[in-house]
Symmetry: C2
Subunit: 346 residues, 2 copies
DNA sequence: CGGTGTAGGTATATCGTTTTCCTTCCGGGG
DNA sequence: CCCCGGAAGGAAAACGATATACCTACACCG
């Protein structure tokens, strides 16, 4: 008691005064550096407890040490965030690991212009707001890796990079398995003409899935796969569906790049008088909780998004703290069969 | 050129040196304080541009000034985040306003224990990580207001506070309109027994909606409303639905506290062999994009979540920057009639 | 017995800004 | 001619924590 200024929060000097030692002693105790005798240590720790002191993030950051925050910059238009929960699920996984180790997550949603994104990263780095970033939505010819290297900002990518791993990457094992299983499933049901509504072409995973799909289709003797490219919106998915269905020799099954698109597709089919799965089989992607609730319950390629988020967070924190990462296993993508697929013309 | 240390990012002294003035002059120029002659001002600004200098967030924060970040703490279990997009939509609205004024959003998702939440707010404030916070999920006997006042952390609440406005509040005008319209709609269709699957009782809005609902029911001569209380999960909604439907004199319509619950309810009804809307009318709440995609398309009480998020962000930023807030109008809740409601026994 | 560790601390420079005085300089009123 | 006041800008003290350099005992060793 005593010397402490009444006003704001306690500082390290208040702690030192209360414990009857110097501020350096306090610093050493709380950071486990130098050597401090046990009784002194105790007194300091008691004082810390009594004053409820915690170091000022600003001061620590200024001193050049860690900020204990990691950043994420998203370039989607804000309203797309709301319709595709993919991103949210990822964040949920990330937070699950960040919270216990007292890291914060600083979110920046910028418009679609690339330079806004670059500015965001630059500020994050230069103003030392975060210690590192997590990257998602890997793009073909993604320029973020170079930018971040230039800024000296550690990063982890969730997904597949467009070229040799420029930063640590977390991704599920057996990437191809989910889509492959979906094709097998459809082939086994007796489908021959299958369409795929892909996401935007600049996504690395779009190309990846296309290849996997083509190979699997070939292997199972499916007739040439129809490909439609669109953005991630429900509207685009509906349009692509309409187009597929009005083709001569229309497909009896369609795979979609995510669950929301699949649901939009089911609706589009319905508007044309087609019943799912009777007249058309539909397969989604991601296995969001939602898929189990709609009618018909959605057959979909499950992805361990939470696991990916967790792994990315752990990986990054380990790198920042210089500890070894023990990353939990990420489940490989698997087909979840529900009710939106059936034998054609059944 | 010249005096600048080659290493890291430029500091204010580098700028000063380049412009041939003192650091204080630079500070004054960039913050529009003191008085600096026009030619000097120019030189400084040029130097800033040339060096691409921006002030270190850490140093500014340490100095006691702003951090240019606002915080949000959510106490939901991380996986609930993923199933109910409500929160995400709000965030999207918030970011829409934050991004243009270069504020960041620091997210903390803590477990369900109350003390974890308190710790999170405390750290946010004491470590000066954020300048203010946005509160959602207003609870009965919410202790956060006192906590935040104690911490001196500015806050804005989205929703209705449990007692006299303790902090600035943003909420939609004509709060009661949506639910009232829903009841009117059902009454007009000829429904007499209507159930409501409420959210948790500790939510302020649960009580509010209950009152509005009872009044409206009374006004339209509906028979006593059946109330079921549950948490926000799809499972809980399914269970509540089952219970309602197995009552003697089962309801012909059910209102739900949110869209995901409504969809789960539709499914539960279906499992009992009831068709929506033929055998049961269902009304959701929030009008998430999803509702327009499911089958049957969901009749729901629309809420301007994005508007609420935007308004909250603007309000808080205005308060922090000491400027006047020109908050855009928030749309009142309105009933959106789609296909999940119909006359009973039709 | 002098030298040399070493445990246990303390004093202090430093990080990059902002802000509060100061110091000049210059014009004008008395 | 003297003094006053405002404009323009500089010097230096914070802000809070950390790391380094630096003391002081005391023990141990040859």
């Amino acid at each position: 008691m005593g010397a402490r200024r009444s006003g704001g929060r306690p500082t390290i000097s208040d702690v030192a005064a209360l414990a009857g030692v110097s501020v350096s002693a306090v610093s050493k105790v709380v950071n486990n550096k130098g050597s401090i005798a046990e009784p002194t240590r105790r007194r300091v720790l008691d004082a810390v407890g009594e004053l409820q002191w915690s170091p000022s993030a600003a001061a620590v950051a200024l001193r050049g040490a860690r900020t204990r925050a990691i950043g994420m910059v998203s370039r989607r238009p804000p309203d797309l965030l709301t319709s595709d929960p993919h991103f949210t699920v990822l964040i949920s996984g990330i937070e699950r690991e960040l919270a216990p180790v007292d890291y914060g997550l600083l979110l920046h949603i910028v418009g679609e212009q690339e330079d806004a994104e670059r500015r965001a990263y630059r500020r994050l780095a230069e103003e030392r707001r975060v210690d590192g970033v997590i990257l998602t939505e890997s793009l073909v010819s993604d320029t973020r890796f170079d930018l971040l290297r230039g800024l000296g900002l550690p990063a982890v990518l969730i997904g597949t990079p467009w070229r040799e791993d420029p930063v640590p990457v977390v991704r599920a094992p057996h990437q191809e398995r989910g889509v492959t299983e979906a094709v097998e499933h459809l082939a086994a049901l007796g489908h021959r003409r299958v369409a795929y509504v892909l996401g935007p072409e600049d996504r690395v995973h779009t190309g990846f899935r296309r290849r996997v799909l083509e190979e699997a289709a070939l292997r199972h003797g499916l007739s040439p796969v129809l490909l439609q490219v669109s953005d991630f919106t429900a509207e685009a998915a509906a349009v692509a569906t309409e187009e597929s269905l009005s083709l001569a020799g229309r497909p009896t099954a369609i795979l979609y790049a995510n669950d929301m698109m699949a649901i939009a597709g089911i609706n589009a089919a319905r508007r044309r008088g087609l019943e799912v799965p009777r007249d058309l089989s539909v397969v989604g992607h991601d296995d969001l909780p939602l898929g189990a609730l709609v009618q018909p319950r959605l057959t979909t390629v499950g992805q361990d998004l939470v696991g990916l988020g967790r792994a990315a967070a752990l990986r990054l924190v380990a790198e920042l703290d210089g500890t070894a990462a023990e990353v939990p296993a990420i489940a490989p993508p698997r087909l979840v069969v529900r009710e939106s697929t059936a034998a054609p013309g059944a």
